[in-house]
């Protein structure tokens, strides 16, 4: 119980901290909105050419655009968030301080990331979504239960995203210059999360692959839930898919952390 309160406090602190980055939030919202517009018109051209591409009608496709723009910050589809901070701490050796605390390293950073995601879901999500809904005709659900189901999928997506970024950050223990690993992970994340294009529209093996990789839990899965493509057992299997990746990758992260701290070489005096 006591530990729960600690991690709750950590999450609240992260939420508040991101709330103070007003300029960054505004700039992010602006960028996402502009980018959303560009993507929206690209999608319109695409769907005019091929209606029902990937099983979506045009309204669903446009909803997807704005959803992805509103959601990608929260699920950190392009990396960043706690990851940069953790990498920096490993690089400078400040990680030593985190390690002698009686707190679990992974749980600590997960709490931080949950706080950040909660803020960015609201701070970075609402405006692009509202803008999109005003300017275009979107296929947003009226049923609050669908929105609730969507939020659950987002939460699971955040967990998967965290688990991936945690492993990436841990790599810094081996490659002190972790920039390469991080850039690769970011590229893969942008593509396979479905942030730019829904994974549904990719034919054949590439689409198959994209749909089973963990990144699809970040944007594709919550989007399908919001668009009403997943109900009943479909919804449950989407959750199961996300949860399985979350649990599996968190476990991998834990093992990597164990290996890292075993042979840990804490930098500096």
């Amino acid at each position: 119980m006591g530990t729960g309160r600690l991690y709750a406090a950590v999450a609240v602190r992260a939420f508040r901290r991101y709330a103070t980055y007003r300029v960054a939030t505004a700039a992010g919202v602006f960028t996402n909105t502009v980018f959303g517009l560009i993507l929206a018109y690209t999608y319109i051209a695409l769907w005019d050419e091929k209606p029902h591409l990937g099983g979506y009608d045009q309204a669903q496709a446009l909803t997807y655009v704005w959803l992805a723009q509103g959601l990608h910050a929260a699920v950190a589809a392009m990396g960043g968030g706690f990851e940069d901070e953790l990498i920096e701490r490993i690089r400078t050796g400040d990680i030593a301080i985190d390690l002698y605390r009686p707190a679990d390293l992974q749980a600590w950073w997960l709490a931080t990331d949950v706080g950040r995601a909660a803020f960015q879901l609201v701070g970075r999500g609402v405006v692009p979504m509202a803008f999109g809904a005003l300017v275009f005709e979107l296929a947003l659900p009226a049923d609050p239960a669908t929105w609730l189901a969507f939020l659950v999928a987002v939460a699971l997506g955040v967990a998967v995203s965290f688990a991936i970024r945690y492993i990436v950050a841990m790599m810094t223990f081996w490659f002190l210059d972790g920039a390469g690993v991080q850039q690769l992970a970011t590229l893969v994340g942008i593509f396979f999360s479905g942030m730019l294009l829904p994974l549904n529209i990719f034919p054949g093996a590439l689409g198959e692959l994209g749909r089973v990789l963990p990144w699809s839990a970040l944007i594709q899965a919550p989007a399908d839930v919001l668009l009403g493509e997943r109900t009943g057992s479909g919804l449950l299997s989407t959750y199961a898919f996300q949860a399985a990746w979350a649990v599996g990758l968190l476990a991998v992260g834990r093992l990597v952390q164990l290996a890292a701290t075993r042979r840990v070489v804490v930098q500096g005096g």
């Binding site: 406090a9 002698y100 804490v266």
Partner: protein
């Protein structure tokens, strides 16, 4: 019967509250020697060190840069695993049970901070409160005490990144003590502090050790910290323990020689006299070491007769000189 046994083992563990047996830490360092090519070599940061510290003692742990002090402390906290040897703190193997030990130790790394940069000082303490699960009353009491003695009152609402180095350090020391640690590791806790802050910190540590018999292991490059706080001092160099004993013993080792500092009219080659040897030359100034038991008078007379002497002074061995001589001897031997 059982209780008697417990008491016995208890007092044994008190006598060896910290215990190191031939502890080693070897770093594998890779040096790039070309594209995709690198050379490996070993750095023996800690090389077979053994010592024990009884509960409640305050020990100085000193040595030159790169001697292995911080590495030792990191092993004592459990964040580094020794490459060899055996290490116990309060009966616990630190690297195996890091989290369990964490509740019983406090650490201050002078060059880093445990506080959160973006939070007001008090918020860091609140997080510690939760993290160490400190009972509320205890937390209040410890916080009040630290705030009073370390004069943190006006700083509590200031974000840590706005604190000066000395203020931050006092904040860090308080943070390390809120959970009543049984042992406190201080790695250069007075680095960068002004004289007044140093005095304050020392007083605080002395009281802490006296009133709560907290065991303290103190690393510093400021020997007056040691002189004022520690009866026992350990000197480490190149990863090896080269002295372990009372501070006074260190004086005695060095008391063998005194130093005569002479200013000549101009820069000259080292003075050549059989009564003393030149240990340092800096422009027209030269330092000569001579046996402490000898009188300085004949030496001075000789130099005055043979060299253009302008000024002179005799220096008694101070601990700093003693230690730098110990280091130097080690390096040349």
């Amino acid at each position: 019967m059982d209780t008697e046994l417990d008491a016995e083992t208890d007092s044994a563990s008190d006598r060896e509250f910290i215990r190191l047996d031939r502890v080693e830490k070897v770093f594998d360092v890779r040096k790039k020697t070309g594209f995709l090519r690198s050379e490996r070599h070993e750095v023996r940061a800690v090389d077979s060190i053994s010592f024990t510290v009884p509960r409640g003692e305050m020990v100085g742990y000193i040595g030159p840069n790169g001697a292995g002090k911080s590495t030792t402390i990191k092993m004592l906290t459990g964040i580094l695993t020794p490459s060899g040897g055996r290490l116990r703190v309060a009966g616990i193997d630190p690297s195996r049970e890091r989290t369990r030990l964490a509740r019983r130790i406090g650490v201050v790394f002078g060059q880093r901070t445990t506080l959160w940069w973006d939070l007001p000082l008090i918020d860091s303490y609140r997080l510690m409160h939760r993290m160490y699960r400190i009972p509320d009353a205890r937390y209040r009491e410890n916080l009040d005490r630290c705030v009073e003695l370390l004069e943190l009152g006006p700083l509590l609402d200031v974000p840590v990144r706005q604190l000066s180095l000395g203020q931050r350090m006092r904040g860090d020391i308080a943070a390390a003590l809120l959970h009543d640690p049984e042992v406190l590791y201080l790695d250069e806790p007075t680095i960068g502090l002004d004289v007044i802050s140093k005095v304050k910190v020392r007083e605080f540590l002395r009281d802490l050790n006296a009133e709560r018999s907290t065991t303290v292991l103190l690393t510093t490059h400021d020997l007056s910290d040691i002189e004022q706080l520690c009866r026992r001092v350990m000197v480490i160099d190149h990863g090896r323990l080269v002295y372990d004993g009372p501070l006074s013993g260190l004086h005695e080792i060095g008391a063998g020689e005194r130093t005569l500092v002479v200013d000549l009219e101009r820069e000259l080659p080292p003075i050549d006299v059989d009564l003393a040897r030149v240990v340092k030359v800096e422009g027209p100034r030269q330092w000569l070491a001579f046996p402490a038991s000898d009188s300085a008078a004949p030496l001075v007379a000789r130099i005055a007769a043979e060299y253009p002497l302008v000024d002179l002074s005799v220096r008694e061995p101070d601990i700093e000189a003693v230690i730098s001589r110990m280091y130097a001897e080690k390096a040349t031997s």
